[in-house]
Symmetry: C2
Subunit: 152 residues, 2 copies
């Protein structure tokens, strides 16, 4: 499995959104709103602790993830890295692309000084959970979300 990873550019947005949409949970969450994605990408570019990464094969974007660096005093002042929005093109699934993607994320996290890598995964993604556990992740926490729009 050969995938080359790099930080995303603005020109990559349509391919990244298409990958995010190619998912049973993601489809409904990614409407076709190019101007909103362009604004969101500008916020990512302006944020020194967020990296949006793409994985290429033959010049095509076949995988993506986002890595956030979190600083804090807890856990002895540990720096954490958090993975969000992981996707691998459906035609590459089951061929080791996920392992290659996580190895890239692990290297970037260590380079940023992180001692802990964390992520949350929807409880319905059973196959993903088995994959994370094979990589050594421990599912020790419950991930809670609150939609702030409902409360405005």
């Amino acid at each position: 499995m050969s995938l080359t990873f790099r930080e995303a550019t603005e020109a990559d947005i349509p391919e990244i959104v298409a990958l995010l949409r190619d998912d049973e949970l993601g489809a409904a969450r990614q409407p076709d709103i190019p101007a909103e994605y362009a604004r969101a990408f500008a916020r990512i570019e302006a944020d020194p602790t967020t990296a949006l990464i793409v994985g290429l094969q033959g010049g095509r974007i076949m995988a993506t993830y986002q890595l956030d660096i979190l600083h804090g005093l807890s856990r002895a002042g540990a720096t954490r890295a958090q993975i969000e929005a992981v996707r691998v093109a459906s035609e590459l699934r089951g061929q080791g692309a996920g392992g290659v993607l996580f190895e890239d994320a692990r290297k970037r996290a260590v380079a940023a000084g992180a001692s802990l890598l964390q992520l949350t995964s929807d409880m319905s993604r059973q196959e993903a959970h088995a994959f994370y556990e094979r990589l050594g992740f421990v599912g020790s926490h419950i991930g809670y979300k609150l939609d702030l729009r409902e409360r405005e």
Copy 2:
């Protein structure tokens, strides 16, 4: 319950670490390493997307939490806010301090443009889970962690 919240200063570090330590899971995670905490605080101050917040009552720090702003393309380019390292002084627990703290976090998250507030909680913290659910949080995810130090 009157608590006044503000961003932490370097002088607050010892009181914040004492609060982080006053916890069944936190005690072992917060060794007495002042120089490390000072370095971690400098990283927090340099990070425009992380805010370390303290809640004061009568001039004493009685609560703390950390709010991270996460930008991304997923969920229609939503900005998320993530709460980490929540603590309320044991003498204030059960008196509504948690609700006041989360209302402060919600306001800061909305002011930062977030449409989603998220956190993870150790599976053993059953009382905290009931509290989050009363606030409207949905425990839809499993939180995974990987200790990067073991793999170096």
